[in-house]
Point group: C2
Chain length 265, copies 2
């Protein structure tokens, strides 16, 4: 099944645009076993989300063993829920093909994130997996995003040029999405104008203090547009005691509802 359709089905069935980001940080786990922690989070939230998004950095920082945990945890996510491997890779063709092999074949991600700085032929090895989704970094949530992304290319900010290229030149397999940070809802609205049909992955809610209501509305301001609203720390570490799984469920219910109110559901 195409990623786009799988995502759409799960959004409808679970009435949710909430994606829970899996960023396990031992500094916040107070001695809990990482794999067990994440499996408990998944068990407590899987009927409330439209996707999960493991962030590879947090697994890589645990060494080779961390990648085993990633594989193990990914395999317990119910098959109907899309899993977005957040790796933000970007490299020349033969190397990008290896990253794609790793992310799609070894970890079985339904979609990934990728960096546009190297241009189309560096994205192609990912895009060639037609049933997979590729969220291209466009407007990120960090304070320094403006350093490069807002540079003016003949009057148009670079991040909008990236969106234009994604929309007009790169999306031959109709499997591109955009990463559009919730910390800049006005920019999300501009991107939605450029890319009316693309799924948007919207990080920045919760710890990063993006505006949930504005970001949700901006990312859905065209009929039938689709967005995945990610929360990581705000769910994982809602409570650091032994009640963490219950707290993660409560937080997920709250975020799902706030998003649904914003989109008028």
């Amino acid at each position: 099944m195409l990623f786009y359709n799988k995502l759409q089905e799960t959004i409808s069935k679970q009435n949710s645009l909430l994606c829970v980001g899996l960023d396990p940080d031992p500094a916040h786990l107070e001695g809990k076993d990482v794999a067990s922690f994440l499996k408990s989070i998944i068990s407590a939230t899987h009927d409330l989300v439209c996707a999960y998004k493991p962030n590879l950095a947090f697994f890589e920082a645990m060494g080779p063993e961390g990648l085993k945990i990633l594989k193990d945890v990914r395999d317990v996510i119910p098959g109907n829920i899309p899993v977005i491997g957040d790796a933000k890779r970007g490299d020349i063709g033969n190397t990008a093909a290896k990253y794609a092999d790793s992310l799609f074949n070894i970890y079985g991600f339904d979609a990934i994130t990728a960096n546009p700085y190297l241009g189309k032929d560096a994205l192609d090895p990912f895009l060639e997996y037609k049933d997979k989704g590729v969220f291209v970094l466009c407007r990120t949530t960090n304070p320094g995003a403006s350093d490069i992304q807002e540079l003016s290319v003949d009057g148009t900010p670079l991040y909008q040029i990236v969106a234009q290229k994604a929309q007009n030149d790169w999306n031959t397999n109709a499997n591109i999405g955009l990463v559009a940070g919730a910390t800049h809802p006005d920019d999300i609205a501009r991107l939605r104008g450029i890319c009316p049909d693309m799924p948007f992955l919207v990080p920045g809610i919760g710890a990063q203090e993006g505006d949930l209501e504005k970001a949700t509305k901006a990312s859905l301001n065209i009929e039938k547009s689709m967005a995945v609203i990610n929360v990581s720390r705000g769910v994982l570490y809602a409570d650091k005691s032994s009640s963490f799984a219950d707290a993660a469920r409560t937080a997920s219910e709250k975020y799902r509802e706030q998003i649904n109110i914003a989109r008028g559901m």
Copy 2:
């Protein structure tokens, strides 16, 4: 010791700017054990190089076991030879900190490659390791590099803006270098004009058919400038038979000499 000094010492001692890229691809190994293969390559070439550059994608494509091989192989590289972890990571601060932790602490790389699209605060977690080097992607070797990197920002190509920012705004710890592909020697010369003192990492020689002589001269066209010229496939797969290690040594000698002729040594 600072990466810059360690690199300089090894360049002098081995009279070499050659970096051998470690991109192990089972498709080219004809059944050879990956770790043994790479250890033989290192054993046969370590007195001829100024650095090694493992490309993480090739290890990741072997699953969690591949990362164990990476760690194992990295640990047999003689301590005086800098190791550049080619991972091209780029993510927001708390995630970049995890990538830095992985690359510098778990794998003990002396330097890494990083992507500038997210701006300075996404590079800072790497740059804060003052004794480590951070090669920022600037002008890459792939055909599609021009899609984004040559966009005109008020008349200046984006890749030159990246170099200007690296030189003037980002390099507070004096540990930035640039990735400047050998396939565009004229652009390397322009970058050297912007960043006279930075070490350049120059990929694209060998399989990618960059011009060794022009690229070497362009990257060294200012007195005391420093460059690392990378060859991966041209050394690793110089001969696919059981004589591969001898062939890798012969190829490394040839590349080292050609580079030395180009730089007048």
